[in-house]
C-alpha cells in the first residue's frame, strides 16, 4: 500500500496542477506548495462531501505524478485515512467484517485490496474536484480565496466539529487496547 508513485490523468491531473501550483514559477504564493499536501486531505474531503470520481483519460492533458519520495512524507497519515474510509464507506451496506478486512487485512495483498483501493482513489479524485471548485473556481482574487478558505473551515466547524468529543475518542482508543 502506497509503495509506488501515483499518476493522475485527465482533468484531475490538471486540477491537481492548479491546486498545487505553488511549485510552478508564476506564483509562489499559494495554499498548497506540493501535490502531496493536496493528496493528504483530498480523500477526507471527498468522503466528507460524499464525492467520488473516476479517473479520466485525456491525451491533451499531461499526466501529473506524485513520486514515492513525496508519498513517503505522508504515508502514515494516508494509511490511516485509507483504513478509516474502509471502515466507514458503505457502512450500512457492507458487513462489519468485510469493512474491517478491507481496512486492516489486505495491506500486502494487492489483489484483495483492489475494491478498497477503488473506493479510496474515487474519494481522492472527488476531493480534488471539491478543492478545485472551492479554491480555484469560486475564488476570484486572493482576498476572496482567504474568505472562502475561512468559510469552508467555519462551516466544517459548525456542522462537523461542534459535536466532536475528544474524551469519548480517547476512551474508545483505550478500549482498543492501548
Amino acid at each position: 500500500m502506497f509503495d509506488k508513485q501515483i499518476i493522475f490523468t485527465g482533468k484531475h491531473a490538471e486540477y491537481l496542477r492548479k491546486l498545487a501550483k505553488g511549485s510552478s514559477k508564476d506564483d509562489s504564493e499559494w495554499v498548497f506548495q506540493s501535490n502531496y499536501e493536496v493528496l493528504l486531505i483530498a480523500p477526507v474531503i471527498g468522503f466528507i462531501y460524499n464525492r467520488s470520481a473516476k479517473a479520466e483519460r485525456d491525451a491533451g492533458i499531461k499526466d501529473n505524478n506524485i513520486f514515492l519520495e513525496a508519498i513517503n512524507r505522508v504515508r502514515n497519515d494516508l494509511e490511516f485515512t485509507y483504513r478509516i474510509l474502509m471502515i466507514l464507506h458503505k457502512k450500512n451496506d457492507l458487513s462489519t467484517e468485510e469493512r474491517l478486512n478491507r481496512a486492516f487485512r489486505y495491506d500486502r495483498n494487492d489483489e484483495k485490496r483492489k475494491s478498497g483501493d477503488e473506493v479510496f482513489w474515487g474519494y481522492v479524485l472527488g476531493g480534488i474536484e471539491v478543492l478545485y471548485e472551492k479554491f480555484i473556481e469560486e475564488s476570484h482574487g486572493k482576498d476572496e480565496l482567504v474568505q472562502n478558505i475561512y468559510e469552508f473551515v467555519e462551516s466544517f466547524q459548525m456542522t462537523k466539529i461542534n459535536d466532536f468529543d475528544q474524551d469519548s475518542v480517547i476512551k474508545l482508543c483505550k478500549q482498543a487496547g492501548i
Binding site: 481496512a103 495491506d107 486572493k142 478558505i149 473551515v153 466532536f164 475528544q166 474508545l172 492501548i178
Partner: protein, 660 residues
C-alpha cells in the same frame, strides 16, 4: 442733470450719425449698453466728457472716424460732433461740441478750435443758444469738471484705480475727488498764491526777498542758508513720503509671503502625512502578503489533522461494535510463530514437537497475530487516532485568528487610502525656499527703510530747529533796519492769512475725507461683505482691514480684483451721494452715473448686490457691459432696466448702435 440722448457724428468708431436715447424713467433708471471688447464702449463713454469739457484721454488724440478720414480728398471738409440732450432743473438743454477737419493735399488737419454751443429750450419749445461764457458756466453748474471723472467712469480708469489699490499706492483719484467735493477752489488758489512760508515763490516769498534785498550781506547769507535748509527739508519730506509708500508695500508683501508660507507649511505637513500613509499602505500590503502566506501554510500543514477529527469517533465506534478489539502480542507477527514451529524450539529454548500441547497453543496464537489477526493493527490504528484526536484541536481558532489578522490589514489599508486621497495638493520645496528668501529680503528692506525714515525725520526736525533759530536771528537783524518795517508787517500779514486759510482748508478737507470714508464703508458693506473696514489716511493711502469678531483689526487682507473693484464702486457711489448732499439748494435734480462695469470679476451674490445698490444711489445709470456680463446684469437688474442698446462692431474702424 439727467441725460436724455447722445448724438454722435463721425466720432471715432461711430461713422456718420448714431443716436442713443437713455432711460429717463425714475424707477427704470438703468440703460444697459452692451458691446464686445473694442466695439467702442470706452469711446462712447469718452464722448460725454469730450462734449461737456472738450477733453478726452485717448492715447491717439484723433477724433475723426478713420474711414471718413481715409476717404477724404484734397479740399474736403468733415465734421465730428457730439450732442447731448439733458434735463437740468426742469429745463431742457442741448450741449454740442463740433470739430471740423480739412484735407490739405496729403494731410487731414483740424480747422481752428472746436465749436462749443449750449442751447436752452424756451417756452415755445425752441432751443435758443446761450452766450459762450454762459454756456461753459451752465455746464459747470450741471457737473463740475473736477468731479466729472467719477460720473463718467471708464474701464481704464477703473483698472488704474484698482492697480493703485492693489499695489498700495496713494490714491490721487481719491485726493482729487475730495478736492472736488470740498469745492473751495478759490481758497485753494489763494493758499497757492500766498505761497508756503520759506518758499521763494508766492507773495510770502516775494516779501521775504524784498526785505532781504534791503538788508546787509549777513541777512542774504542767512536767507541763503534758510533756503538751502528748507529745500533740503522739502526733499527729505518727499523722500520720507516715498519711503513710507515703499514701507507699506514691503509690509504688505511680508504679510502675503507669510500667509503663503503658512499655507505651504500646511502643504508640507500634508505631504509628510501623505508619505507616512503611503509607507503605511506599503508595509501593510507586505504584512498582508506575509499573513496570507502564513494562513495558506497553516491550512496546508494542519488541515488534515482537523478534517479527520469527526471520522475518528465513528470509525472507532464501528470497531468497538465489531468486538474485534482483541489483543495480539505486541510486535509479534504470524511469521514469527511459523518460524518457531519450523525450527522446533521455542524462544525459551523448550522443544516443540508436532502435535504436542505447545504446538497447538502456538498454532491457535498464530490466528490472533498479523496478518491473520487484525487486533494488533487496530491497536496501532487506535494509537494513531489518539494522537490525532489531540493534535489539531485549536485549528479552528488559529484559522479564525489568522483570517482576522489578515482582514484587519484591509481595514488599515482602506482607511489609509481614504486619508491619503484627501491630501492632494503639495507645495514645491523650491517654491518654499524662494518665498523664504523673498520674505527675508522684504524684512531686511523694511527694517532698512524704517531706519532711514527715522533718520530722515530726525534730520527734518533738526533742520526745523535750525531754521527757527536762523529766522529768529534774521528777525532780530531785520528789526534794526527801519526801511524794512513796512515789508515786515506785510510779511507777517501774509503769513497769518496763509496760516488761517491753510488751517481752514485742511479742516474742511479732513471733514470731507472722513465723511467720504464713512459713506464708502457703508456702501461697501452693502455691495461686498461685512467685516471689512476701508480707511483713508491723511496721505490718501487706502487701507483695507478685516474686522474680527472681537472688534480688533487685522491688516492681513487678501486683496483681489473683485474686492478692489468693489471698493471703487463704493467710492464712486460715495462721491455721488456726497455731491447730492452738497447740492443743498436742490437746483440739480440728480446725477447720472455713466460707467464700465466689469461684472465678471464678481460672484453672483455680489453682482446682485452691486446691481441693486448703484441704481438707488444715482438718479440715472448708464452702464457699459461686455456681452458675457450682459446676461448676468440683465438678470439682476431686469426690473429697473429702461433701455437696452447694443454696440455692433462692423470692423476695426466702424461700429454702430442698435436698440435691443
Amino acid at each position: 442733470m439727467i441725460i436724455r440722448q447722445i448724438k454722435l457724428n463721425n466720432f471715432r468708431q461711430f461713422k456718420d450719425r448714431c443716436t442713443i436715447d437713455f432711460s429717463t424713467d425714475k424707477t427704470n433708471n438703468v440703460t444697459v449698453v452692451m458691446g464686445d471688447n473694442g466695439a467702442g464702449k470706452t469711446t462712447l463713454e469718452q464722448a460725454f466728457t469730450w462734449c461737456m469739457y472738450g477733453s478726452t484721454n485717448f492715447a491717439i488724440q484723433e477724433l475723426i472716424n478713420r474711414d471718413v478720414r481715409e476717404s477724404m480728398i484734397s479740399g474736403d471738409i468733415a465734421v465730428v460732433s457730439v450732442e447731448l440732450l439733458v434735463n437740468y432743473n426742469n429745463h431742457e438743454y442741448s450741449i454740442m461740441r463740433k470739430q471740423r477737419f480739412e484735407k490739405k493735399t496729403t494731410r487731414v488737419e483740424k480747422i481752428s478750435n472746436d465749436i462749443f454751443l449750449v442751447k436752452e429750450q424756451n417756452s415755445n419749445g425752441e432751443f435758443i443758444p446761450l452766450p459762450d461764457i454762459k454756456g461753459v458756466a451752465t455746464v459747470r453748474e450741471f457737473m463740475p469738471e473736477e468731479l466729472s471723472a467719477f460720473f463718467f467712469f471708464d474701464g481704464e480708469r477703473l483698472e488704474h484705480m484698482s492697480k493703485e489699490l492693489l499695489e498700495h499706492k496713494r490714491s490721487d483719484n481719491f485726493k482729487g475727488a475730495v478736492r472736488g467735493l470740498v469745492g473751495l477752489t478759490a481758497m485753494l488758489e489763494a493758499i497757492e498764491h500766498l505761497g508756503k512760508p520759506g518758499r521763494k515763490s508766492g507773495v510770502i516769498g516775494q516779501f521775504d526777498s524784498l526785505i532781504d534785498n534791503a538788508g546787509n550781506s549777513n541777512l542774504s547769507e542767512i536767507a541763503g542758508v534758510i533756503d538751502n535748509l528748507m529745500s533740503k527739508q522739502e526733499n527729505l519730506k518727499k523722500q520720507i513720503d516715498d519711503w513710507s509708500d515703499e514701507e507699506a508695500r514691503y509690509s504688505d508683501d511680508m504679510i502675503s509671503f507669510q500667509a503663503e508660507l503658512k499655507n505651504m507649511q500646511e502643504d508640507i505637513n500634508r505631504r509628510r502625512e501623505f508619505e507616512r500613509l503611503q509607507a503605511l499602505i506599503q508595509s501593510e500590503e507586505k504584512e498582508k502578503v506575509k499573513d496570507r502566506q502564513a494562513l495558506y501554510n497553516y491550512f496546508a500543514k494542519h488541515s488534515f489533522g482537523y478534517l479527520i477529527l469527526p471520522l475518528l469517533e465513528e470509525a472507532l465506534g464501528e470497531i468497538k461494535t465489531a468486538d474485534k478489539l482483541d489483543k495480539g502480542i505486541p510486535h509479534i507477527h504470524a511469521d514469527t510463530i511459523k518460524f518457531l514451529l519450523e525450527r522446533g524450539t521455542c524462544i525459551c529454548g523448550s522443544k516443540i514437537c508436532n502435535g504436542d500441547e505447545a504446538t497447538k497453543h502456538l498454532e491457535a496464537l498464530m490466528q490472533t497475530l498479523p496478518p491473520y489477526s487484525i487486533g494488533n493493527m487496530i491497536g496501532q490504528f487506535a494509537n494513531q487516532a489518539r494522537s490525532l484526536a489531540v493534535r489539531e484541536t485549536d485549528f479552528y481558532e488559529q484559522m479564525k485568528q489568522k483570517t482576522q489578522a489578515y482582514q484587519k490589514h484591509d481595514a488599515v489599508i482602506n482607511n489609509a487610502i481614504d486619508q491619503r486621497d484627501d491630501l492632494e495638493k503639495f507645495a514645491d520645496k523650491e517654491k518654499v525656499n524662494s518665498i523664504k528668501i523673498k520674505l527675508s529680503t522684504a524684512k531686511n528692506a523694511l527694517s532698512r527703510l524704517r531706519n532711514d525714515i527715522i533718520n530722515a525725520k530726525t534730520e527734518c526736525s533738526r533742520i526745523n530747529d535750525k531754521v527757527k533759530y536762523l529766522e529768529n536771528q534774521r528777525k532780530e537783524i531785520r528789526k534794526t533796519y527801519s526801511k524794512n518795517k513796512q515789508n515786515m508787517v506785510y510779511l507777517e500779514y501774509a503769513k497769518v492769512i496763509w496760516e488761517q486759510l491753510k488751517t481752514t482748508y485742511d479742516e474742511k478737507e479732513e471733514e470731507v475725507r472722513l465723511e467720504l470714508e464713512a459713506r464708502i464703508n457703508k456702501i461697501f458693506e452693502n455691495i461686498y461683505d461685512g467685516g471689512i473696514q476701508i480707511s483713508v489716511d491723511e496721505r490718501y493711502n487706502i487701507i483695507t482691514n478685516i474686522v474680527t469678531d472681537s472688534g480688533d483689526y487685522m491688516s492681513d487682507l487678501e486683496k483681489n480684483t473683485a474686492q478692489s473693484y468693489a471698493i471703487i464702486f463704493a467710492f464712486i457711489a460715495g462721491i455721488i451721494e456726497m455731491a447730492k448732499n452738497n447740492n443743498k439748494d436742490e437746483t440739480n435734480d440728480g446725477f447720472p452715473l455713466v460707467m464700465d462695469a466689469p461684472l465678471s470679476a464678481f460672484d453672483k451674490e455680489r453682482i446682485k448686490r452691486i446691481c441693486t445698490v448703484l441704481p438707488t444711489i444715482a438718479e440715472q445709470v448708464i452702464i457699459f457691459i461686455k456681452d458675457t456680463d450682459g446676461d448676468i446684469a440683465e438678470k439682476y437688474m431686469d426690473s429697473i432696466i429702461g433701455k437696452k442698446w447694443l454696440i455692433k462692431k462692423h470692423s476695426k474702424t466702424v461700429s454702430s448702435l442698435e436698440e435691443r
